[in-house]
């Protein structure tokens, strides 16, 4: 278990998450993609904390902030999905094309 290996695993998670965000039509699946990206970020943060900072507590603090961002993303994301669904009974990104026309 080296820092390099950890970072490459985290990169794989970020790549997978990016694929999900760009490819999924459903809002909720799109949020899953964001979560996976943040998962990779979390792993990277902790890897650097563990191998690169001699245990500086700010590294852990950053991880907690990443978790807070996840919670924010979930709360606001689901609220937006609900608001959109109330209006249009739609749950896909393609449904929101009012600005296009």
């Amino acid at each position: 278990m080296t820092l390099q290996a950890l970072l490459i695993v985290a990169s794989a998670l970020i790549g997978l998450g990016l694929y999900g965000v760009l490819s999924q039509q459903s809002f909720v699946m799109l949020m899953m993609g964001f979560e996976l990206i943040l998962n990779g970020v979390l792993l990277m943060t902790m890897a650097f904390w563990s191998f690169g900072s001699a245990g500086a507590p700010k590294g852990q603090l950053l991880a907690i902030l990443v978790m807070a961002v996840m919670a924010l993303e979930m709360a606001i994301g689901f609220a937006l999905v609900t608001a959109v669904y109330r209006q249009r009974q739609a749950d896909t990104t393609e449904a929101l094309d009012t600005l296009k026309h």
Partner: protein, 226 residues
Amino acid sequence: MNDLISGIDIAFWALAAIAVLSGWRVFATDSMVRASFLLLLSFMAVAGIMLLLAAPYIGVATIFMMAVEMMVMAVFMVMFMMNPAGLNPMSMVHQQPLAIGAGVVAFIGLSAAVLTSPLPDQPVAADHRAIHALGIEMLGDSMLIFESAGVALLSAMIGSVILSSRSGRFGPADPGSRPPGLCEGGLPAGSVPDENKNHGMGHGMQHDTPNAAPQDTHGAHGAQGS
């Protein structure tokens, strides 16, 4: 000592494989409930790696938080997805080549950066009191940052309740927030749900009523302009 190191290595690679494989299956399974719990599995594998990294609090808190989040996620998936259990397999992806390309580029780019740049090597001491240090930091020097995160979460909570609840300040929010009609009493501007009580339209999909147009797998998503 050698055995111990290899044991940790085996555990790490196994957890890494679980994290990546289940992360990939999230976007390959049909059932939304399965997708959320696969993502939970991915998070739990990452949390296991954090435990190996001597970060017990962050690791366990990740499991704790993500179990709750993914449970909520599963419920929302079932609520809003047109086909939550993947009962009728369907493709719900768009711009596939671009997405694959972006994902691969992100992975290769990040990996290349990792492999070519000099990495720090100051491992955390074995007897480091990680949780104690974190607590002192959170309520000491970095208190402002920590409290800001708390305030941000609070405002997100309030915002999400306002966004998602039906009752607005002047009555139910849904009719009031429709755009006005293009002419007097006419259809609202923009796309609206079908008004002829054909609520199979929900989720932006039509189901086949005798008089409905033949299924158009692509155009039906938006429920536009009927």
